[in-house]
């Protein structure tokens, strides 16, 4: 019976596993070899080499300087933006869209995922539509959302919310479904009321997967904001990229892209930090 509903209705995997969605950079490095001082120097060295190649290409004269600006010009442009306060202003706009959208999307996905995990009726009724929603290319409906909700923050928040919604939903369903039935028996035998069961069992048990979803959402939400700002906006880092493209101000485009990358990485880092402080117990299980 279970097999007829797809995706969100999949069985319960071991809730100790971390979703594949979160892939910290350290995972790419074989853990068996000890870190040495040499290894720590490798990444910065590669960075410097890449910068030098970039500088070399810019100075070679193969490309016009407005097509490939040198790193120094990009840095100067970035500094100029920072100095007159416009970088901060645009970053703040994007950050607000990203965070509000994340909050809306994560909360909506959590409660809907909770309902789907707890109620077979909700799972059967909603799953096909949620899968269809995931299949809609956000970029394609962004113009429509701008028409409906205006060129201000509301449309971007909705785009961000939509983009984080599905991974968060799936993670919540997996987290809640993965709770061992014996632990539910335990709560029942202690006469826990529904709120106590949620607070003392369901929420903490789902937390590792939910935070995994939060980490993915952090970077996805930045993409959502940029998509919205590309379509129509008067401020934000995505707007800066678009503006720079229109005026062939490539240093501006690259400076804005670097800032966006830093923003996404910072948000991911915050989610990872949250994981670190909230899930002390979970690390012990994995080791």
């Amino acid at each position: 019976m279970n097999s007829r509903v797809q995706t969100v209705d999949e069985g319960r995997p071991d809730h100790q596993t971390v979703p594949a969605s979160s892939l910290p950079s350290t995972l790419l490095v074989a853990q068996s070899r000890p870190r040495t001082r040499w290894n720590l120097l490798l990444a910065p060295t590669v960075g410097i080499i890449l910068l030098l190649i970039w500088e070399g290409v810019a100075q070679s004269g193969w490309y016009a300087s407005f097509i490939v600006p040198s790193p120094v010009r990009v840095a100067n442009r970035w500094w100029a933006l920072a100095a007159d306060g416009s970088l901060l202003r645009h970053t703040a706009v994007t950050l607000r869209e990203v965070l509000t959208g994340m909050m809306v999307g994560v909360l909506a996905a959590f409660w809907l995922g909770y309902a789907i995990a707890k109620s077979r009726t909700a799972a059967y009724a909603l799953t096909p539509y949620l899968v269809a929603l995931q299949a809609v290319p956000i970029v394609a409906i962004a113009p429509l959302l701008i028409i409906w909700f205006g060129a201000g923050i509301a449309s971007k928040v909705i785009i961000c919310a939509l983009i984080v919604f599905f991974p968060m939903l799936v993670n919540t369903v997996i987290g809640i479904r993965g709770i061992p039935p014996e632990l539910r028996d335990l709560m029942r035998s202690l006469e826990a009321n529904p709120f106590q069961t949620f607070w003392h069992l369901e929420l903490p048990a789902a937390m590792p997967v939910v935070i995994g979803g939060l980490k993915v959402s952090a970077t996805l939400s930045v993409i959502g904001a940029v998509v919205g700002e590309f379509v129509s906006a008067s401020a934000g880092l995505g707007y800066l990229v678009n503006f720079g493209r229109g005026t062939y101000d490539t240093p501006l485009v690259i400076a804005a892209v670097f800032t966006l990358t830093a923003l996404a990485m910072t948000l991911y880092g915050l989610a990872a930090w949250l994981e670190h402080i909230l899930l002390d117990w979970h690390k012990a299980i994995q080791n």
Binding site: P180, E182, L183, D185, L186, M187, R188, S189, L190, E191, A192, Q196, H200, L201, P204, A205, M207, L279, D280, W281, H282, A284, I285
Partner: protein, 252 residues
């Protein structure tokens, strides 16, 4: 030991939806403060009976009486220990022990006092702040027993609590349970696979038949208390285990 019945199962039968006939007309009465063990072959419905007695599973037929009142839902007055310790991995040892008190809404000061007393009783004071992931199986099960006792239930149900432990730990846990039981005198019903364990612990051993489970023998264990592992080699102990083994073999 008083003869007053505290927990009674009256003519319990149970048929699972998939057609498995788990229990057939089981009636049992647990006298107040007695220690009763339930033994029988694998899959004879012992765990089903325990779940029904705990109010976790509504019986197909018959009813359960606690203090002469029929029960239809899980009760705080009945403590349960499962085969797996079922500790909450995000709570420390201390937090796991105090969970029943927290759920019952006990004031913090009283909660602390009781939890510390229980940590002392189960000899795990130095592990108060440890998370369950770094505990051994025996330690985890001691906490599970402590958690089931901390809110002072009238009845304690144990579903093969030492089934997942190695033989050595298992023997130690039996003695530990005797010691704890001497301090917290409760009515206990324990499901076990081990005949020596049943004889060592119980006042009475009930033997169940293979599926559908029925109670086919009710053996008094007249050994004096306090008991210890030294009993294991005494002739009267061995004779009792032989008698039980025989009744299990002939149960049908």
């Amino acid at each position: 030991m008083s003869d007053q019945t505290i927990l009674a199962a009256e003519q319990i039968s149970h048929l699972y939806p998939d057609g498995i006939h788990a229990l057939d007309n089981v009636t049992l009465r647990l006298a107040c403060e007695s220690f009763v063990c339930l033994v029988g072959p694998s899959g004879c419905g012992k765990s089903t009976l325990l779940r029904i007695l705990a109010g976790l599973l509504p019986p197909g037929a018959g009813h359960v009486l606690l203090d002469e009142q029929p029960i239809t839902q899980p009760q705080r007055r009945i403590g349960i220990v499962f085969q797996k310790a079922n500790l909450l991995p995000w709570r420390t040892v201390y937090g796991n022990l105090s969970l029943p008190l927290e759920l019952a809404g006990m004031p913090v000061a009283e909660r602390d006092e009781r939890t510390l007393a229980m940590l002392n009783l189960i000899n795990l004071e130095e592990f108060a702040d440890t998370y369950p992931a770094s505990l051994s199986g025996g330690m985890a099960q001691r906490i599970a027993i402590g958690r089931a006792l901390i809110h002072d239930p009238q009845v304690l149900l144990l579903d093969e609590p030492f089934g997942a432990l190695d033989a050595l730990t298992r023997e130690q846990m039996s003695e530990e349970l005797l010691r704890i039981w001497a301090r917290h005198r409760k009515t206990v019903l324990m499901v076990t696979h081990s005949i020596p364990e049943a004889v060592l612990l119980a006042d009475r051993v009930l033997v169940m038949s293979p599926r559908p489970g029925r109670i086919v023998a009710d053996v008094e264990i007249p050994l004096s208390r306090p008991r210890s592992l030294d009993l294991l080699h005494r002739p009267d102990f061995v004779a009792l285990t032989e008698r039980l083994r025989h009744s299990i073999r002939t149960a049908h």
